[in-house]
Structure formats: structure tokens, C-alpha cells
Amino acid sequence: MTGRDPREGASGDRRYDVPLTVPEPHARPARANGHRPAGPATRPDPAPAGPVTDEVDTAATDEPAVTDEPAVTDEPAVTDAPAVPDAAATDPPAVANGVAGRPAATGGSAVPDRPGDQWDRAVASGLAFLRRRLAGDYEVDEFGFDPQITEAVFHPLLRLLYRDWFRTEVSGLEHVPADGPGLVVGNHSGTVALDALILSAVLHDQHPAHRFLRLLGADLVFRMPVVSEIARKTGGTVACNPDAERLLAGGEVVGVFPEGFKGIGKLYSERYKLQRFGRGGFVSAALRTGTPIVPVAIVGGEETYPMLADIKPLARLLKLPYFPVTPTFPLLGPLGMVPLPSKWLIEFCPPIPTAHLVDSADDPLVVFNLADQVRETIQQTLHRLLEQRPDPFGP
């Protein structure tokens, strides 16, 4: 992306850049609509930048009724096709500077901060975000990860869920490396893989280095439309060794749940009992890249959708690994999709170094022993956390 420094707004190629961040203290606050005037020296705009109303503002006053609807942004070509494009074509920098360069036009004299300005800025940055999305001005990595939309849309939603709905308490974040690769291995629970999403939001929000967790998901996730799109955009990829090793070699923090469907598809009566850890593919991926393994215990996921029964014939019919019956799910219909507000505790355990075992990546004994060690660590931490949380739905 282009730089966020608002001072650069005047140069030609960055003319559409709008600062997303709140301006520095020395910024002119009044009526700025999130834009700040570019420095007078660097301004190519020939028009005098005075407090007089200019053509930009009159154009806006002519048709405020049409343009104040946010929906208009979707169809700009329809609404202002006759007048606008040639203005933009003849002198695009002037148009852009009209946006960036005349903040105080209607305000007249400099007005000190008003309550509306915060809101103003939010609207401006929201619009700028929308415009950048619609113009395709964002980056996607080779796995399809789109950090911009993850931070702007998905994490805020998950934040509401983990902070206000689940009252999540997190500890041990210092065990996740601040830079370089890490393999976070967790217990999987709760019918819907909500724990993975919460874990990624928590790690990004609360870790000092704001690291993104790159989740490895089951085949099923990538078979489904919409779900697969969201999974890739939020940084997920198919759980396979080439992808895991590529992410780790790139210095990413990778999140895996080796129990897979056995973990999330278990009955409520078996809650917090770790299932089998498969073939330990995650361990060999860590060994090949010399990545430390960070076990993480997540308490609270099991109570979100307590699975009382599994209707196997229906699952087979729908080609799903299980068909859950929870106290609310088929009974209340779509309302059953609302997770129960359990109390969540997440603890990251001390990392297990693997750098000295790089040569043993294909040694099944080493792999199984390490997988067992990770499993035991998670299981014991789960028991300890459960003792700290006597009431699953407590405060």
C-alpha cells in the first residue's frame, strides 16, 4: 500500500491516499473530514487555498440529496457520469487536491475541535476504505491472505464475541515469539471451530507484536463456497505439510488443531478430553523448519455448542463428519446457531524448542514422542484452567 503519511498526499501518484490513522497532535483538527491540508510548499494545486468557497463545494451543494446516501458509492458511473468524468480526466490532481486541500472551506475560520469531528474522521476513513476495496487497492499474499479486510472486518466482529460475549482471559502470550516462526498447537472443541477463530483474533489483538495466526483448516472448509473464501482471506490454508512448511519457512505463526473433527465433533460428556493427535504431521513440519511448538489450552469452547448427540445417518447424507444435536440447535432453528455465553480461558504454554531435532523430522519415534509431549502439556493445562473456572458460565 501507499504510505500513510498525510504529508505525501500532494504528490501525484498518491493523490487518493487518505490517512486512516488519526492525525498527529499538530494536525489541524477542525472540519477536516479526516483529510489534512498538504503542506503549502509541496502543493501543485494552482488554485488559491483560501477560505472562500470553491467549485468543489458548489458542486457538492448542487446535489446533496443524491449524494448523501452511502449507497451511491457503488454506482458512481450512473449518478454522475455526465459531469464528473471529464472533470476527473482533464485535471485529476486538482480534483484530488480539492478533496485533500480544502478542509476548512465551509467551516470558515478555524473552529476548535467539535464533537462531530471524531465522527467525521470515522466516516472519511470508512469511505476511503470502501473506495480502496472497490478499486482493488490492497495486497493478497500467495495463500490468499488479505490482512486489510481481516483487520477491518473480521477481527472487530470476533473481538465483540471474545471480549463481550465470552469474557475471554488470556495468559502466556509472551510464549508466542515476537518475530520468526512459531507453531501454535491447541485443543479443538465446540462443534463449530469457533476456538480457532477466537484464538487468531486474540493473538492479533493482544500479542505485543500483533501477530497474525495462520490457521490450517480441514479439506471440508475449502470444499465449501463462501467458507473457503473467508478462510483464505483471513489467512487460513489447507492443512498439509507443504503449506505448513512454507508458512513456517516464511516466518509466520501457524495455528493447528491436530485433533481435527475428532476434537470438535465429540460429545459434551467427553469435554476437555483430548482426542488422538493423528499422525503428528504438525510435529514433522515444525521439525523440518526448526520451529518452536507453543501448546495452547483453550477452555470454554466445549460449552458454546454442547453436543448431546450425533445423528450419523443425517451426517452421511449431508457428507458432513457429524450432525450435532445441541440443547438449542435443531430445536430452535437458526437461533440455535447462537453460541452459549461460556467463560473462556486461554493459556499459551512455554514453547518446546525443536531446532536441535531438525535431522529427526522423519524419525517416527521422535515425532510421536514430541506429539505426546505437546498433548500432555495441553491436557494438564486444561485441567488446571478448569479448576480455576468452577462455573462454566460464570463471570
Binding site: 487518493y16 463545494d57 458512481p76 472497490l134
Partner: protein, 357 residues
């Protein structure tokens, strides 16, 4: 050493498929290289009028694939560049069966001829990243060693697998010959006319609902550069050739100023089949699968071996957009203006409300 000058550079080069866009440009480029003595273009049909000016320095021979064997031996050919592949069935020229004839049978016959050519020491074969297929279980990034998880549904992908199989056999039988297999990502560029450029030139671009595949493009000029280098230098092996970086389909459509039209997946397959049977539109199952799952390849081996990095996927696409700016539905300027108008509107309304209160 060949009577052609520099070591590595061959004296006599045969290029197949010169009646097509890629073949014509490669032949013209090789002909312009002083290190190469003779460039002979081979193709069954007469090259189209649009390329004849490109090919004035290329000797052209029209033979059918079956009798190419004697030709290669008679001409003392040092190197063969095999580009005569058809990527989508053309209803005007026999459809899928003709496509398979040309791709698979044509390659078999050419390889048989190459085996009998005594002086041949270099073979460059155009392949495609379609060799990896496309499925939801695939790793996100293909390296040259990745095996496809399932046989591709589309005809072109299956042809590519067959062709690469025959080339592997040839490599076993002629171990002294340098064989370069180039797996190209879809071409794009300011002038190239491919299925993909036609697709992105439409104002309404159909996409698959709920999927946003990751795509990679290769700029046409970079494809020429890699083909040229693989002829004048020695690079044995299989290489992915693609622009580094990735564009999501939705992102590409937005950058091109087009509007995406999501279609349910079964609907799209059906529509593609219908369009094919009606004789217009050449979107095959290859394309449908690509637009569901996407395909990204690792170009590390190419960069290490050739010392050449193609321009990035985003840059290649930018070049295409610049040449097709006219068809854009939504331009950046319009978006910026719309943004400003909305913001001005909000400000006006708020000012009015404040004045009244």
C-alpha cells in the same frame, strides 16, 4: 560445437506453432538473434495474415505432423521449440477432438521425429500450470515437484499431463538432449489475445459465487524472454514460469474497473457448456476449475536457474488494464469523486442540521 557462434546457442532452430500468436513472436525473436543461424517455422496451416510481417526473417515450412521426422533429420536441426498447443477447443476448427489431435498426437509425432534427429541437442516444450490441476485439497502453492491430486476435469489439463508424460519418456530415451519443460501461467499483456484477456475485457465478468480464487499471470514479453533464454542457454528440467505475487479474482476485476457477476457453480459449468455447444465462448472446464480453486505456483527454481524474474502478476495485469482502459465500467477517478461527493453531502447535511438547531 555448432556453426552458429556462441557456445550453448544452437545453429538451426525449429519452432512449431508459428501460425499462432506465441509461436510467431518467438520465431521472430529468435530470428532477430544473431547467435542463431536459421529459424524454421513449422506449422500445418498457413500462418494468418496478421503475423506474416513478423515472420519475414523466418523460413516457413508447411508439413503435417506425420512427416516432420524426415524434415528434422534433413535440416540438421540443433534445437526444437514446441509451442503448437491449443489451450481451448475452437469450434471452427474441429472442437475438442482436433484440439486433442494437435496437442497429444502432434507432440507424440514431434517427439518421435526428435528422437531420430541425429544432431538434436535441445528440446523446449511449452507446458502449462494446468499440469497441477485444481482442487480444494491442493497445497496453496505448487512447486515443480508437486504431483496433481486428481486428473484435471478439463481437456487442456489432461492434454498437458499426457504431453509431459511423453516428454519424460523422451528424456529417458535421449539422455544427452537438454530438455526444458516450461509450465506457463496464463498469459496476459497489452496486446495478447487469449481466453483470459477476453474474459477480463467484458464489462460484466462472471465469477463463481462464494469463491475468490488466487490467480497468477505471466506477462507475454516475459514468456518470450524465458523461451529465448531456454534456447540460447542450457537449462535442463521443468520450470514454473509465472509472475511472482498473486491477485485475487475479485481484486483483478476491481482493478480492471469491471463488475463481478457471481454465478452459482453448477450454473457456471452449465453455462460454459451451453456457450460451447452454441459455438460462441471458449470457456472450458479448465477455466471453471481455475475460477473455483485458483492456482499459484512457486517460481523460485526459474529465478535461480535462469537468473531472471518475470514482472509480478500485479504489474503484468496493470499492463493489460492500461491497454483495455476503454472498457472499464468503474474507474478509480470515478470512485474518488464519488467518495468526495458522499463526504461533502454528509457534511452539507450536518451543517444544515446544526444551523437549524
Amino acid at each position: 560445437m555448432t556453426p552458429g557462434g556462441t557456445p550453448g546457442a544452437p545453429g538451426v532452430v525449429v519452432v512449431t506453432g508459428v501460425s499462432r500468436y506465441l509461436g510467431a513472436h518467438v520465431a521472430a525473436r529468435l530470428a532477430a538473434d544473431p547467435r542463431i543461424e536459421r529459424v524454421i517455422g513449422v506449422d500445418p496451416p498457413e500462418p494468418g495474415a496478421e503475423f506474416t510481417d513478423l515472420l519475414d526473417r523466418v523460413e516457413r515450412i508447411r508439413v503435417d505432423a506425420g512427416s516432420i521426422g524426415g524434415l528434422l533429420a534433413d535440416l540438421d536441426v540443433d534445437a526444437v521449440v514446441h509451442l503448437a498447443l491449443v489451450s481451448s477447443p475452437d469450434p471452427q476448427h474441429g472442437g475438442r477432438s482436433a484440439m486433442k489431435d494437435q496437442n497429444v498426437i502432434g507432440t507424440m509425432q514431434l517427439l518421435a521425429a526428435c528422437q531420430r534427429a541425429p544432431r538434436l541437442r535441445k528440446l523446449v516444450v511449452r507446458s502449462s500450470t494446468a499440469a497441477y490441476g485444481a482442487s480444494f485439497r491442493d497445497p496453496a502453492v505448487f512447486t515443480e515437484d508437486t504431483e496433481p491430486r486428481e486428473v484435471p476435469r478439463g481437456g487442456f489439463g489432461r492434454d498437458i499431463l499426457d504431453i509431459e508424460g511423453y516428454v519424460r519418456g523422451f528424456r529417458r530415451r535421449r539422455p544427452g538432449t537438454t530438455v526444458t519443460v516450461l509450465r506457463f501461467a496464463p498469459f496476459i499483456g497489452s496486446t495478447a489475445d487469449t481466453t483470459l484477456t477476453r474474459y477480463f475485457s467484458q464489462p460484466l465478468v462472471p465469477t463463481v459465487f462464494g469463491r475468490d480464487p488466487r490467480l497468477q499471470f505471466l506477462h507475454f514479453d516475459d514468456a518470450l524472454e524465458v523461451l529465448h533464454r531456454s534456447i540460447v542457454e542450457d537449462h535442463s528440467g521443468t520450470f514454473n514460469v509465472a509472475g511472482p505475487g498473486v491477485l485475487a479474482l475479485s481484486q483483478a476485476i476491481r482493478r480492471a474497473g469491471r463488475v463481478a457477476l457471481p454465478v452459482l457453480e453448477p450454473g457456471l459449468s452449465g453455462a460454459a457448456a451451453l456457450a460451447r455447444s452454441l459455438g460462441f465462448g471458449r470457456v472450458g472446464l479448465d477455466q471453471v476449475d481455475l475460477f473455483v480453486h485458483g492456482r499459484v505456483v512457486d517460481t523460485g527454481r526459474l529465478e535461480r536457474e535462469f537468473g531472471f524474474t518475470p514482472r509480478s502478476t500485479a504489474a503484468a495485469f496493470e499492463d493489460f488494464i492500461a491497454a483495455h482502459r476503454g472498457g472499464a465500467v468503474v474507474s478509480r477517478d470515478q470512485l474518488a469523486v464519488a467518495e468526495r461527493l458522499v463526504r461533502e453531502g454528509i457534511r452539507q447535511v450536518r451543517a444544515a442540521v446544526e444551523e437549524r438547531s
